[in-house]
Symmetry: none
Subunit: 226 residues, 2 copies
DNA sequence: CTGCCCGTTCAGCCCGGTTTCAGCATGCAC
DNA sequence: GTGCATGCTGAAACCGGGCTGAACGGGCAG
């Protein structure tokens, strides 16, 4: 599954790239519109993530150029929230969906999944780790067939940890993926949420699925802590 | 029964939409060819009504693109009576039938029904979730064999929720599917309608079929809230 | 023309959820 | 053991999503 990311802000670009790679995508990044258009024309991608404001050729132009050339690869446009550029125009030029900055990684992934599903390449995942089960689509979590209520944030954190079950996930990664990319608050918030999750999904069941790896991050046990 | 109407003249589009909704169809409207193609690819429709002369991608292109992609949803083409565009060509690109403007509802409806019959989907779909039952075609809703009166909008919202029972449906999705997708009013309208629906289909029966998933959307319980 | 129904907008409230912060606990290095 | 860094936790403040009642306006029937 190949994805092209056309985005000039390096921080956003590299965060998106790393995240998508973790999801198993092969990611190319273009930092200018000119490069992006070139890459999009030279290669067959399954998906294109396209910023609107770009040096060189802007996102609209890239989009309409591709469409005119008969290229119908699903395109997700990224728009800044100040109204200079318009979402409706994005769709008019042939984009398939759009996302307003700032956005968080989970939202981005959700949208990309939706696009792929539409293109008939989606496979809906439910995450499992031992007796712990999470269904992103229904937004539900179970342990031992007991459903667990989680808030939106709690759910996102758990989903992300599950998506990388078995490996050590640095706190910074969690911050970048679950919160908006430009979040610059107290990183302690991750600890707060891990704490809550433990209280909700571990303690009542006398297990420990989320382990702390001091100095490195957290690790979701693949056996759910059984 | 879901229908997509691709038509750029707003007057015609909204008239057709209202007419079809009165017949019990769930109708999405696209005002440009680009949007129409996007919607047609994104969703599973039972029927597509397609104007030929469109801004963006024209009707022929949409039709052949869909067919090439293996989408065989029945398509009814609308052609203006001046002979610039040709009915024969419509059929060549993969349309199933055509209708010359101007036309009356009666004729339109008759043709659509004929198409559905041919496609073998004339038999009605009814949605069920526990003791809640909805018949799109007859435009009726029951709970426990008690019929519930709903307005057109209320009905559409409920139908859409039922069509995705069990999963979390973002407000944005509801807006896009139930309202004209170029609706840019207050998204609060969704909350208003969910509220009304609850008052009509939940409260009198002391159940709760429509759940709120804070920060994510609404979810229709598959057991109807029993 | 009048009244009713429906769809829509709006403002305000409520409450849950998120975030911050300060203090405490734990683990590690020496 | 001592001291430092890292992680944990409860309480409080803040924020905003979601809900509701009221009011407006257009369309349609009588």
């Amino acid at each position: 599954m190949r994805v092209l990311v056309v985005e000039d802000e390096k921080r956003v670009a590299s965060a998106v790239k790393r995240g998508l790679e973790a999801e198993g995508f092969a990611v190319d990044v273009a930092l200018t519109g000119t490069d992006g258009l070139w890459l999009a024309q030279e290669n067959e991608y399954d998906l294109i993530v396209l910023d609107i404001m770009l040096p060189g050729v802007n996102g609209y132009r890239i989009c309409s150029t591709l469409r005119e050339a008969g290229n119908w690869t699903p395109i997700l446009m990224l728009t800044a929230k100040d109204g200079d550029y318009d979402e409706a125009e994005a769709l008019d030029t042939g984009a398939d969906d759009y996302l307003t900055k700032p956005f968080s990684y989970v939202v981005l992934i959700a949208r990309l999944r939706a696009l792929l599903r539409r293109a008939g390449r989606g496979d809906l995942v439910t995450y499992e780790a031992g007796d712990l089960r999470l269904d992103p689509r229904a937004h539900r979590v179970w342990r031992d067939d007991t459903e667990i209520d989680l808030t939106a944030r709690e759910f996102s954190v758990l989903e992300y940890l599950l998506s990388r079950a078995g490996e050590v996930v640095p706190k910074r990664d969690i911050l970048e993926h679950v919160w908006d990319f430009d979040f610059d608050g107290d990183p302690n918030i991750v600890e707060v949420y891990v704490g809550r999750l433990r209280r909700r999904v571990d303690e009542p069941f006398a297990r420990r699925a989320i382990e702390t790896v001091r100095g490195a991050g957290y690790r979701m046990r693949t056996d759910g802590g059984a």
